[in-house]
């Protein structure tokens, strides 16, 4: 599904390398997790994959289903099936959540040459999906993320994911700022989307999210590289011993 080879990325504005040769393959239908200490480049990887400005790819490639995404605009990547659940979902005053969702869904359908959803069809789908995420009518009506609590923002991200039905979902610290109940709700939303044709890349600091979203593969990232790859037990090792042991081991 996603194949990243030797990816080198620096900041556009300053002379600083952040990713220093990332190699990573996420197979179709699998859930991969990336863990790592602060500043290891996890969030940068998610931004570069989804097309945020301000980064310069100096080497390497990233292919989604065999197509290089690094030259695409963010909206093209989205239409190709890539989705990033933001660590800090953005507040957009003046744009209604429902309008935003419908515009996004139909823009992607249009880009893929599919028929756009009518207002009535859309409403039916969004109501059902919002209900399972405990998102009420008021949250759908309000401006995007404005005045939402931390938990509501993350649930809203998962709702977008559910509506857009991407093939490759990247979750950037979706657990940050969530209490246990909110995390469970979000994890249930993600698990409901797990599918043989859909892959996930879950970025997190902590193992506890992975109790709820069970990964197939766990990677440890440090200083801009994947330094260790293993099964779910690797996450437990981090939880018990911290990153120091692993980093010492691979150094």
């Amino acid at each position: 599904m996603l194949e990243i080879k030797n990816l080198h990325v620096g900041l556009e504005e300053e002379d600083k390398q952040i990713l220093k040769g990332v190699n990573l393959t996420v197979e179709t239908g699998k859930v991969h997790a990336i863990m790592g200490p602060n500043g290891s480049g996890k969030s940068t990887l998610s931004y570069v994959l989804s097309g945020k400005d301000g980064y310069e790819v100096t080497d390497g490639s990233a292919e989604l289903q065999g197509v290089d995404v690094l030259d695409m605009e963010p909206e093209e990547r989205a239409a190709a099936g890539l989705f990033l659940a933001f660590q800090y979902p953005v507040e957009i005053p003046g744009v209604g959540n429902m309008t935003f969702l419908r515009t996004a869904v139909n823009a992607q359908r249009k880009a893929r040459g599919e028929e756009e959803l009518s207002a009535a069809e859309f409403l039916k789908v969004v109501r059902a999906k919002a209900k399972s995420l405990k998102i009420d009518a008021d949250m759908l009506k309000r401006p995007v993320n404005v005045g939402f609590s931390g938990g509501e923002k993350k649930r809203n991200e998962i709702l977008q994911m559910a509506m857009l039905e991407p093939k490759m979902c990247i979750l950037d610290e979706t657990d940050s700022g969530l209490d246990v109940d909110a995390m469970k709700l979000v994890a249930e939303g993600v698990n409901a989307l797990r599918d043989a044709g859909r892959s996930f890349l879950v970025i997190t600091h902590y193992q506890r999210l992975l109790d709820h979203i069970k990964p197939d593969v766990v990677h440890i990232m440090a200083d801009g590289k994947i330094v260790k790859t293993g099964g779910p037990e690797l996450a437990l090792e981090v939880e018990n011993n911290g990153y120091a042991d692993i980093l010492a081991e691979v150094a």
Partner: protein, 424 residues
């Protein structure tokens, strides 16, 4: 006074139109003031950011007629429609001048009479608005206007009055003056749309008596080459309400002045505007609000989106006199620049002599929020569409000031249509 004389502009040679006693007096008073101040020029403090040359020139600069097949703004609103062509009232295209609770008369008819209630408003509110800042274009208008309406609301109007200004001649030069009086408890909505002429000088005086409510919604359309100077003068009685909103899209030069005076306690006024300019576009909102009564609330909300070298100007003043305690004055002006060639200039002014007041003002200028733009595009919304969404959201905060939901929705739809056509 000596300072004013030193800066005196060119005094045009004018002959005021003939009329009955009240009109002649008002016209001569205005002409005399104009002779004292002269026409505005770039050295005037309130014309520093907007060059009035084309507004004061003897002839209007010709303006090509803007061809468009889109429906007129407020077309679907059930209203008494009054049509002007190149600044001249066209009875044949207009509805009958009949509306329950409202008397509607042409200025030219009213001006023939020796005695008319209009004499207590026409040139009077405008005259009060000449100090401390002189407004020579309004003096000129009061002295010379023969077109316009004299409207008195005695109760709640059954529907709005909608002025439609059509532009058909490339060299038309329009002077329009509306005189509006709302009696105690009256309620009236006035809609305006259209470019009017190649050059327009428009004045609207509105006397809002105690507990009356006046609503004004205006759409200055996409006629690119027109030049417009408008003044609204309003005087507000006790517990009255005044709300004015203007949407402007394109137009080479627009100067909208609003001069509001609170004379009765517990009244409120809102002056708001949203504008979107592309290329040769200069748009100036100049507001002067005088609080001379207790516990009144004023709001100024102005938003401008500018691209390709467009210029936006905002000059907003709140004057709170010594006895105007418990005044609540709010002012916000914001410019959204879509490129580096565009300019937004803001001059907020507060002058407060009372000690128990709450006045706040804010002025910002910025670009589209990249983070928001990325968020929208990362969900698959194309860049241009995302930019339009954010632009509409920005202007929407000014449109929110329009009380009537249906009219506000009309304005949003109008703006969306104009945005969409820009890509066409």
């Amino acid at each position: 006074m000596s300072a004013k004389l030193k800066n005196k502009g060119v005094v045009p040679s004018i002959t005021v139109p003939d009329g009955g006693k009240w009109a002649s007096e008002a016209r001569q008073t205005a002409a005399a003031l104009l002779a004292e101040t002269g026409l505005p020029h770039r050295r005037d403090e309130y014309w520093k950011y907007t060059d009035p040359t084309t507004l004061t020139a003897p002839e209007a600069t010709p303006a090509a007629i803007f061809e468009s097949d889109e429906p007129l703004p407020f077309d679907g609103v059930d209203a008494v429609k009054i049509v002007f062509v190149d600044g001249v009232f066209d009875a044949a295209q207009s509805d009958a001048l009949e509306l329950d609770g409202v008397e509607i008369e042409t200025l030219s008819d009213a001006a023939q009479k020796d005695i008319h209630w209009a004499g207590s408003v026409y040139g009077v509110l405008e005259g009060r608005g000449q100090y401390p800042v002189s407004r020579p274009l309004a003096s000129y208008n009061t002295a010379m206007a023969e077109q316009g309406f004299v409207i008195r609301a005695t109760g709640k109007a059954a529907k709005p009055i909608s002025f439609i200004y059509l532009h058909e001649s490339e060299t038309s030069d329009a002077v329009i003056h509306h005189t509006i009086k709302l009696d105690e408890g009256a309620d009236l909505t006035v809609l305006e749309n259209g470019p009017a002429a190649a050059r327009i000088n428009a004045v609207m005086e509105v006397e809002v008596a105690d507990t009356a409510a006046f609503h004004h919604v205006r759409a200055q359309g996409r006629d690119h080459e027109r030049r417009t100077a408008t003044h609204i003068f309003a005087r507000l009685g006790t517990e009255s309400s005044f709300k004015s909103f203007t949407l402007t899209v394109n137009g080479i030069l627009t100067r909208n002045d609003a001069i509001i005076e609170f004379t009765g306690d517990n009244a409120n006024a809102t002056v708001a505007g949203a504008c979107a300019g592309d290329g040769a576009f200069h748009h100036d909102d100049t507001v002067f609000i005088t609080h001379d009564a207790v516990n009144c609330e004023s709001r100024q909300v102005f938003k401008k989106v500018l691209r390709n070298g467009a210029v936006g100007v905002f000059q907003g003043k709140i004057l709170v006199k010594a006895d105007a305690q418990k005044t609540d004055g709010y002012q916000i002006s914001q410019g959204l620049l879509l490129d580096e060639n565009s300019t937004f200039q803001a001059k907020p002014e507060l002058e407060i002599y009372a000690d128990d007041v709450a006045c706040s003002h804010g002025s910002t200028v910025g670009a589209i929020d990249d983070t928001a733009l990325f968020y929208l595009t990362s969900r698959g919304i194309p860049h241009k569409e995302a930019q339009d969404m954010l632009t509409l959201a920005f202007l929407g905060e000014a449109i929110d000031e329009v009380e009537d939901e249906a009219l506000a929705d009309d304005l949003r739809a109008l703006l969306e249509g104009w945005m969409a056509r820009r890509h066409g």
